[in-house]
């Protein structure tokens, strides 16, 4: 060992950098584990929800034989389920099947247990939800983007602007059932639109408006100021500048916000409870006499259907099928719509790079 160097460290200490077993060291480890556990709990919760609905729902949605999808579930209206025994065999039949069964055997009545909404399919609910989402998002995007453009491009800071922003923040905090009541009072009763698609659209649109405005504004602010300046310096008017050189670049960001909006609009039950949703409808939405009636008809919707089949009828093994099947389809639809917006956004992002 060289001993002649003046700067050699204390040689008898094997590792001068070893961990100190003190409070800071253990505190560090404990904190890490605490926050890590918290994070993984989120994953666990999500997995539980998706697995339960996925497993139980797929029993309804998929079948073991060709075409492996329960087509009736996607093409029929909900109907009553009849459970009975006939010649020693147990039958589970929907309303129409039960009637055909009786007619075939020429019997007046067979004693059967009936379960409302537990047979048939959910096509009217799917159509209703898609209509509600499409209409309300269109309204919300038109109003929201217009407000966002005004707030971020035109309005100068003033007390009035602060008041408007305060209103938007407060609107975001209003519980959805209050929106439902408001919609019922204004659109259904005062405007005499009755329980209708139109009333549901506007109620849902008002509910997501704050989300759309806030995130559209962020998207507009993220467009570099240089584009606005360059455009104005070339003699463009303010609106020409916004139309050609601000709004197109903000579209990906606005789409992102609308994904959040879609999930909320599709999922909320309370706002459509009093404004747009019916438990059962005999007709499909497209079966209207005049085209104006289309807007003034009530619809069935997936979240409301789940609510009805899970809480409005006595629960047992036969009703579960419809509950989980609907939830499964509902989740799948929201995921599909979101996926569509994400893909569109990626496409636009790739086209617009700066």
């Amino acid at each position: 060992m060289p001993t002649d160097t003046l700067t050699s460290p204390a040689p008898d200490l094997e590792n001068p950098f070893q961990y100190r077993r003190d409070a800071a060291h253990y505190g560090e480890k404990a904190t890490l584990w605490l926050i890590r556990t918290g994070t993984y709990l989120v994953l666990l919760a999500a997995a539980c929800i998706f697995l339960q609905i996925g497993i139980k729902g797929s029993e309804t949605v998929f079948t073991t034989h060709w075409p492996f999808v329960n087509t009736a579930f996607f093409t029929e209206k909900p109907s009553t389920l009849y459970v009975f025994e006939w010649e020693g065999k147990k039958h589970e039949l929907s309303d129409s099947e039960f009637r055909a069964f009786k007619a075939e055997r020429h019997v007046e009545d067979i004693p059967a247990e009936s379960y409302a909404h537990s047979a048939g399919g959910i096509l009217p609910c799917i159509v209703g939800t898609v209509l509600l989402v499409a209409g309300s998002m269109t309204i919300a995007l038109i109003l929201g983007v217009a407000s966002a453009i005004y707030l971020s491009e035109y309005a100068r800071p003033s007390w009035r602007m602060r008041l408007i922003r305060l209103a938007i923040v407060n609107l975001a905090g209003v519980p959805s059932i209050v929106f439902g009541l408001f919609g019922a009072a204004l659109f259904v009763v005062y405007f005499k639109w009755n329980i209708s698609l139109l009333a549901g659209w506007f109620t849902l649109a008002l509910m997501v408006l704050p989300v759309v405005i806030t995130s559209s504004e962020e998207a507009l602010k993220a467009v570099p100021q240089g584009f606005r300046e360059a455009s104005l310096a070339l003699g463009a008017t303010k609106w020409q500048t916004i139309r050609t050189n601000v709004l197109p670049y903000a579209v990906p960001g606005i789409l992102t916000s609308s994904i959040l909006g879609i999930a909320r609009v599709a999922g909320e039950t309370a706002p459509i409870l009093f404004t747009a949703a019916y438990v059962v409808r005999d007709k499909y939405p497209w079966e209207v006499d005049r085209w104006v009636d289309f807007f003034f008809q009530p619809v069935q919707a997936l979240p409301y259907h789940i609510y009805v089949v899970s809480s409005k009828i006595p629960q047992n093994a036969y009703t579960e099928r419809m509950q989980y099947g609907t939830a499964f389809v509902f989740l799948a639809i929201v995921l599909l719509i979101s996926l569509g917006s994400v893909l569109l956004r990626i496409r636009l992002r790739n086209k617009l790079k700066w």
Binding site: G226, E229, L234
Partner: protein
């Protein structure tokens, strides 16, 4: 005002400076006081900028040179609470802050190139014709011709003629800045304002833009703000020195760099402060 002393001397000397003042002044600034809210950014500036010359504005950061430049095409309108308190700016004899002046029309005649090159994320072609399209000029043949002419004038044609329909953002920094210059001259302005156009460019790209500035002065009046004094020396005919919101001195560039009248100018140029 104590500062009016050097400024009034300015007024006597500056207009006499252009060697052959055949053309009238492109820009006349009279006694301009400019504020950002309460902040007094420009103090009593008097300045005449001759047409078809390159005029450079130099001075340390925050001295008001960019502010003054952005007054010439009223880009400061975009800044909330900025305003002109006194004085006037005339472009070719017209007060540009008069009641009947549309800033849109002004900006068609007074183009601008920015510090950070900012081509739109559109094709090179669409970048150049942007100013024409928004005026409703959409004839294909006319646009094609203007694209070629503008890109040639901006010394970019040979580099991009085969990829006019590719994105302008894919160009190098120097090419982007020349594209911005092409875009500005496509609308045929009379004056081109350049706000530190080379500050983000490497020396080779800088020299290309400087050559370009030299060529462009035949057709346009150019006002350039620069932090680079060599650049001012290389490509300008006149140089104005600003300090703390005041115009200290404007003169022929050679004179400013060899024998300035004001001590502050000399100190700045020789690097004693700034």
């Amino acid at each position: 005002m104590s500062t009016s002393q050097p400024l009034s001397q300015e007024e006597e000397t500056a207009p006499a400076q252009p060697a052959a003042p055949a053309s009238p002044n492109a820009v006349d600034v009279e006694n301009l006081d400019f504020y950002y809210g309460d902040y007094h950014a420009l103090h009593g500036v008097n300045l005449q900028i001759p047409a078809h010359k390159v005029t450079a504005f130099i001075g340390p950061s925050g001295c008001g040179k960019s502010t003054l430049l952005r007054c010439f095409n009223r880009m400061n309108d975009l800044v909330p609470e900025s305003h002109i308190k006194h004085g006037s700016i005339k472009v070719h004899g017209t007060d540009i802050n008069g009641p009947n002046v549309d800033p849109i029309e002004l900006r068609k005649r007074v183009g601008m190139v920015f510090q950070k090159s900012n081509p739109f994320p559109k094709s090179i072609y669409e970048n150049v014709v942007y100013g024409l399209r928004i005026q409703g000029r959409n004839k294909r043949a006319e646009l094609d011709e203007i694209v070629e002419r503008s890109l040639r004038a901006a010394a970019l044609w040979d580099e991009v003629k085969d990829r006019l329909h590719e994105s302008g953002v894919g160009l190098s920094g120097g090419q982007q800045q020349r594209l911005c210059i092409a875009r500005a001259i496509a609308v045929e302005p009379e004056i081109i304002l350049m706000d530190e156009p080379c500050s983000a460019l490497d020396p080779i790209a800088t020299s290309k833009v400087e050559e370009l500035i030299f060529d462009l002065k035949k057709s346009y009046t150019i006002i350039i703000v620069t932090h680079n004094m060599q650049q001012a020396g290389r490509c300008s005919d006149l140089t104005a020195f600003f300090y703390l919101g005041r115009l200290i001195e404007i003169d022929r560039t050679e004179k400013i760099f060899t024998n300035p009248t004001q001590k502050q100018t000399e100190d700045y140029i020789t690097g004693r402060f700034g």
